[in-house]
Assembly symmetry: C2
Homo-oligomer: 341 residues x 2
Amino acid sequence: MKKQNVTSADVARLAGVSRSTVSRCFKSDSRISDVTRKRVIEIADQLGYQVNKLARSMSTKESDLVGLVSSGLHDPFAVILVDKLISTLQKMGLHPILLDASNEKQLDISIKKLAQYQVKSIVITSGSPSSSIGAKFINRDIPVILLNRAGQLDQANLINCDNQKGAMLAAQALIDAGHTKLAFINSSFSTFSGVSRRDFFEQTLALKASAGDVTLEKINVEETGYQAGYKAALKTLSQQDHATGFFCATDNIAFGFMDAARYEMGKKIPDDVSVIGFDDLPLSARPTYDLTTIKQCPNNLAKAVAECINGIDTTSERIRKIIPVSLIKRKTIAAPPYQQL
Amino acid sequence: MKKQNVTSADVARLAGVSRSTVSRCFKSDSRISDVTRKRVIEIADQLGYQVNKLARSMSTKESDLVGLVSSGLHDPFAVILVDKLISTLQKMGLHPILLDASNEKQLDISIKKLAQYQVKSIVITSGSPSSSIGAKFINRDIPVILLNRAGQLDQANLINCDNQKGAMLAAQALIDAGHTKLAFINSSFSTFSGVSRRDFFEQTLALKASAGDVTLEKINVEETGYQAGYKAALKTLSQQDHATGFFCATDNIAFGFMDAARYEMGKKIPDDVSVIGFDDLPLSARPTYDLTTIKQCPNNLAKAVAECINGIDTTSERIRKIIPVSLIKRKTIAAPPYQQL
DNA sequence: TAAATCAATGCACACGTTTGCTCAAAATTT
DNA sequence: AAATTTTGAGCAAACGTGTGCATTGATTTA
């Protein structure tokens, strides 16, 4: 009992023109007299006619559809990023099909289907899809954009926030405050961003260490996000001679760390321990945490993706883009406590 | 320089069969000899052939695409809900196209495009799209599902959490603790859920009020979410004889309320004021808040949507579904302080 | 005024599937 | 062995649109 779709033929008949003319009325470039166009559009509206994009795509071999794969919306920064991505794409007239990558098996199936929809491009945010899957897309000439994610794929376009600069700023901030016993907190299921930050952090310290001596403890916990930070605090702060300056791979981890430090271990922040995060989530600015952190701007990341998608047609070059970060000073870093005489 | 798509004709040629046969090999129902099917599929795999869903949809007039409109991912509960929706739909072999409804104008355009993609159904989560838009879809026989949202549209399918029960439980909890001066906190840009909870809260109190006397203050603030709660606390707690039992329309509002109450107004929770929220966000269980709240289960909501989408083919009846809620007792409700002798 | 240019529109094929109908061969029944 | 049913597979039309080419009438140029 489905109502028959109203098609271009219908409006053509009513307008007394050919289907071609109707078709051209809905594209900007074609030369159609203003008077005809106006009449046709009017009749189309009246009939409730809508272009069938599926048919159009088939004919033009182009599509407004974009695949957007994210490993669930559990990580708060991922949420903000996806949100920005969606609205940015929408403004460009592109339509994202979302894919959940939490379940690797499901993902494998679904990602294939994405190709079946002839998506214009596929953007993979930090998460777990195996690189072999991305390769499949490249085989079919569907451009792949890796966002804040490892770049195993040679042919993919890469967009990353400046983890190196961020890690450097974090190191600098802790050292400037006088800390010498530092630690890096992360989940052992960490994403590319996490290990990248750790490596650059370590690297920066190695440079500084020549001046004074600075120790670095690398802590990985078999949890993710908030829970990882929580567990990490329990573990490390119970030790006799624990570190005093903590760089958490993400703000979310920092929240867990702070909560456990305060409520379970009775530590004061920043009096007893200093903490710095990465992301600058909205929650970080709230009085509960007031977290000093490295800000990466989702807007700029989204903008870069947009430019990348548009640019892909024109250039065959793979794009490599680094998005700047900055230090946001709040209230979780202070001088280390006066400990041993 | 686009690589030519490999089509069913290509695999047909190589397999020495007709296109029809290839087509039927990828559908379950048709009668094709096992040996042919196996050979065809093998060749298809080898060629990297993928069904072109656009073409298929055009032929079958069916689509795996589903429109999912949400007013941005700012509200934390919305995020969880959307997340569950995406993974649930994915499991069903459906592909959600996400639409951001924050910007009403953009939305109007984008939602039209959704129809152009011949979506199987469109689900609108709590948010702002005008009801007239929904009506457009119904005109085109695209089923509309309203999720936690007002049901102005007669022909739409409705799925809501049990706001009535929730409000009742909240009222009961506060009254049982001994509170008589109650308040309801909400954003003045509130969604349907918010006003619904308020109305049921008031209604429940009216019943109780016959027994003892209970006052209700309704507070609306010109902010949203966390900020609304924050401002509300500043405003109401500065008054001489303020309420002691607060029902916040959402957990997120409750967080703002608690933060302001504690850090700006110097109140202790639950010693000075009691708070109850709605949603049961993960954050509510953390020690920072440990918020007593009404839990609504995103899983069940998503499941209901799934069933609804599936059921729509078979029955022409509009679906009305209420999803149960429950009270989660934590640490933000206690007896009111001993105030006036 | 004849020739050349141009603007507006129609024709018909292409895009990649699905599916009702047809048909031949094989299998089964009488 | 003849008649019937079943099985496997091909033909061709349909889905709704875009677009190169052809056509026609109007306008400009020589």
